[in-house]
Amino acid sequence: MKIWAVYRKELRSYFCSPLAYTVIGVYLALSGYFFSVILVTTKQLIMTGVFANMGLMLVFIAPILTMRLLTAEESEGTMELLLTTPVTVFDIVVGKYLAAFTVFLMGTVLTLSFPLFLCTYGSPDFGPIITGYTGFVLLGGAFLAIGLFMSATTDNQVIAGVLTFGVGLALWIVGWLAEELTGKARDIANHISAVQRYEGFLYGVLDLSDVTYFITIILAFVFLTCFAVIKRNCF
């Protein structure tokens, strides 16, 4: 298994440039803002509103974290190195995915200071906070998988980023659309909406079908990425 070789290389490249620091920094600053403003205005020891806003932020953060993952390998010609050493496409794709996911997790772990802060001033209900984090991590994982796939479809980082952003936002706004629709169309919109799925987690509901929804997106896009890499390079 060469997954870890690719993983270490990718993680290193995140932290050797200002990329990971900038993304995590901005992400913490904004989520910190949401947390404090919501806490001050509602005076409630819950994080539902914070998670909702942090989720929407992922629509912007995921493209930035993933847009260079495979595009850079293609445009720098280093894909030829990876594919001619005894490393499988699966190793490359999964290694890169895990690296992006790790950076995302690092940022997320730092936001654990919010619930800890709540603990020092009262006793919040940990149920919704735990499910909220579960949903948030799954949502991030799904957006990152989409971004990884987009980076395998083009040589251009900006295009990969914009496509990821577009798909992420579409998954988000289709939930708003659902509220305006009726009947079958509403069911379908609700079914594919990331917001609808995500909201359950925020109110402390851990629904297996919601978990499955996100895991399916992750697995599907990771495998699609493998196919995209093979298709681009091997034919």
Binding site: E80, T84, T85, N233, C234
Partner: protein
């Protein structure tokens, strides 16, 4: 040993390589020549398992690259046309990464890295960022990467392009140092360069094999032979036996054999025109000729293209030694 058997590669409807067959024996340094766009890089990418051929097989020490890519890839060190480098890494970091990718572990990792740094003359730059290195050093890092893990087979795609004459000399002597216990295939569009390093040469043009042998053999053949391309129906063995008897005939080489249609090249002494005799001989055997054309031009044409580049390099070298 590298065996390329009837390899054909299409990009969409464009043929990049057509029915290429040749063998590089163990310990041999083979020069792979052809003008730009002849299909050299494509062939090398197929050998290294980067892309599969449309048809045909490649065997690396008897291992089919398509069927067992992981084992085949372990035996090959590959330097692509543009060295695949991570600009934001130092030379040492990069080589350690390639060790990881090639599965070189533990104490061997450090030893291997230091060994290739030594061979490639990179001692001075191990801590520098690759992005800041000169073209010559980048090329050497690319070569060092190919040497990691001490693979028995080296595939080097235009290892000297873009280098200045002094660097060209260095890379050449480096490759010469490696020759002997390694099987090397090295592509170039400059004949003298290949001549200086390789015992054996293969020339391709437009994806087809034009000539193979030592440089002297090839140029001898150019001077003493003419060649005709024939497309006909019939059995190759029978045809070859009959045609062999024609006076002045030197060799008959089959190119392909598809759906009863046979393609072959007929080579004969310069100055004789065997076309009439060929026609009657074939007619007598009942083998209709579908197509016949002199193809002396292809090799000559290629040779001219390759040798005209010679002067550029030679004057370049003179400049370098001034």
């Amino acid at each position: 040993m590298i065996e390329i058997i009837n390899v054909t590669k299409y990009y969409g409807s464009h043929i990049a390589v057509k029915d290429l067959t040749f063998t590089v024996k163990k310990g041999e340094v083979m020069g792979f020549l052809g003008p730009n766009g002849a299909g050299k890089s494509t062939t090398m990418r197929i050998i290294t398992g980067y892309m599969p051929p449309t048809r045909g097989r490649v065997l690396i020490d008897g291992i089919d690259v398509l069927k067992d890519p992981m084992r085949a890839k372990k035996r090959i060190g590959y330097l692509p046309e543009s060295p695949p480098l991570y600009r934001d890494m130092t030379v040492k970091e990069y080589l350690l990464l390639v060790c990881d990718l090639k599965g070189i572990k533990g104490r061997k990792k450090e030893m291997e890295t230091n060994r290739v740094i030594g061979i490639s003359g990179l001692e001075q730059v191990t801590k520098r960022l690759i992005g800041n290195l000169s073209k010559g050093y980048k090329q050497r890092v690319g070569l060092a990467q190919a040497l990691l893990g001490d693979p028995g087979i080296l595939v080097l795609d235009e290892p000297t392009t873009g280098l200045d004459p002094k660097q060209i000399k260095e890379i050449r002597s480096l490759i010469k140092k490696l020759a002997g216990n390694k099987t090397v295939i090295l592509s170039s569009h400059i004949l003298p360069e290949v001549n200086a390093i390789c015992e054996k040469i293969i020339i391709i043009n437009k994806g087809r094999l034009v000539a193979s042998g030592s440089a002297d053999e090839i140029s001898m053949r150019l001077q003493s032979r003419e060649s005709i391309y024939v497309k006909a129906k019939g059995d190759f063995k029978k045809i070859a036996n009959t045609l062999q008897k024609i006076k002045g005939m030197q060799s008959i080489n089959q190119i392909s054999d598809e759906a009863e249609v046979l393609e072959f090249n007929v080579e004969f002494e310069k100055g004789r025109d065997l076309r009439e005799e060929l026609f009657y001989a074939m007619a007598e055997m009942g083998c209709p000729i579908l197509e016949m054309k002199p193809n002396k031009l292809s090799l000559e044409d290629v040779f001219v293209k390759l040798t005209t580049q010679e002067k550029v390099v030679e004057t370049g070298e003179d400049l370098g030694s001034l």
